[in-house]
Amino acid sequence: MSFPKILSANWGVPDNHHINVAMSRGQYDVAREVLGGARTPDDITAEVKKSGLRGRGGAGFPAGMKWGFLPKNDPRPRYLVINADESEPGTYKDRRILENDPHMLIEGCILASYAIQAHACYIYVRGEFWHQQSILRQAVQEAYHKGFLGKNCFGSGYHLDITVHSGAGAYICGEETALLTSLEGERGYPRLKPPFPATHGLFQCPTVVNNVETIANVPWIVRHGGDAYSQIGKYVVGPDGRPQVDSRGTRLMCASGAINKPGVHEIPLGIGLMEYIDEYCGGVKGELKAAIPGGSSCPILTADEVRSVEMTYESMAKHGTMFGSGGLIVLEQQTSLVWVLHNLLRFYSHESCGQCTPCREGTDWLYKILGRMLQGKGTEDDLREVLDIADNMEGRTICALAAAATMPTRSYIQKFREEFVSYFVKGGRPVDRRGRYLHPVAPVGAAV
């Protein structure tokens, strides 16, 4: 399928992170025009609404609509906050934007800030991205020196400050309200919603929080028009006149696990997941067993489901999973899914912020029970217990981290129950240090 590359067109261009190189191909032209009076803020929001761009951080919420939620005629300052706390296991796409095209992100920040009339924008980058932060900080400095940021952006009289803010190691700070709490100088605890950040966000002021990739699309959309963007991808209107499929544009996918060519690829939404694996990732290494389509918080897909699912928000939902953050992890036949789930539950147990009891205790219990199963000390009762604990975690916490642990857990057990049951023998089923079965077939005597 032929489609314009929006986000990755200039990756690999030498010195692309320097402003003169970026400007030589037109970066900042649109922002200069817009701030010069060519377009009103509402125009920009309308263009982004028209494009159908949905948030690329995980939830997939329409970006333009999010901007439209800020209260009108409110005297408080407004803030744009960019979520660059990329930490969802399997995800490494925003990192590539920060490294390869920071000025695309900065121009997106200028346009989005103007659209919501924010005069301060914070880019919250995970602390581990020390290298990416230094590239971004330098790019921001360059934009200040050119007069694109500061008291008088492009000589237009518009005032915008961008600050790169470093996190310090906490997965939960990718959750938007936790990110805001952290940005305010606190422990990164999520907040109850409502009130939503649109009315009570950073410093209790109206705030939009967007993912890096989402905002990096904005300069292209404003330059080429929302219609041009919405031509890419898949959009199907049903008989009732409402969209049945609303997955427009391109998105960055990051592939890892049992594939021949791991990497970040820009794809048009709507292609098949298997097509993506075969054409972009060099195919499956080994025999396909299952895949996690959008980061570790997404329910798992069986091999058959991988073959039938399309890369749209809707098709993912129909298959009982989510598009999430675009982090695809492919698993092959020899890999133990009990080992995989144990690995991920340790992650969630480690990353639970501890604020809500069901999540703080629940993630740890799940991790411990899976550890017991892995050692061959599990029973059918444990499987029931796991599902029961999951029921008591979901919907009983402030944020979605508990669900991010329980939804995958439930899907692994429902779709691969026999494999879990095959562990209920003395000693379990031995695996190597990469989670691969030493004996591909379940040992004799396993109760299946």
Binding site: P89, S256, S296, I329, N343, R433
Partner: protein, 158 residues
């Protein structure tokens, strides 16, 4: 009080504190400055950072202890952190970890007797396509590791 910023760091602090409408928001960047100078955050540094921002020392400890990258105890000259989350684990993170433990003669969480290396594990560091990986001193990423590559890296760290 036993600690204060060098004039150069103080200058950085004076700039960054102007970037936020509330002073408290500068706490994490301020803690970073202190850790950059000292390699870890002793109680004197926490108290000093808190004082600069008109906060109680306990506030600085409460915040610093939430984030895994702040060292509340001294670490070796090189803090090596190996990602152990799924994508890295599938392509050999635990083999790399075993190799590091053998080579350094310490277990995860320990520091070599000469104070040179501390070995830790980390959760997903967004190197999923280039695993296994390790990060040194919270800064540099070393990716697509093999045991041989690990040896070369260790030898190159003076």
């Amino acid at each position: 009080m036993g600690y204060s910023f060098s004039p150069e760091t103080k200058e950085k602090f004076d700039v960054l504190v102007t970037r936020y409408p509330e002073k408290k928001a500068a706490l994490i960047p301020t803690l970073w400055l202190a850790q950059e100078e000292l390699g870890w955050l002793p109680p004197e540094a926490l108290a000093y950072c808190a004082e600069l921002l008109d906060l109680a020392p306990s506030k600085a400890l409460s915040v610093a202890s939430f984030y895994t990258m702040f060292n509340l105890k001294p670490v070796g000259r090189y803090k090596i952190e190996v990602c152990r989350t799924l994508s890295c684990a599938l392509c050999g993170a635990f083999e790399i970890l075993d190799h590091l433990e053998n080579r350094l003669g310490i277990r995860v969480g320990e520091t070599t007797p000469d104070g040179k290396f501390t070995l830790m594990t980390q959760e997903c560091l967004a190197s999923c396509g280039t695993g296994p990986m390790m990060q040194v001193n919270g800064k540099r990423y070393f990716e697509s590791l093999t045991p041989q590559r690990v040896d070369e890296i260790l030898n190159s760290l003076a």
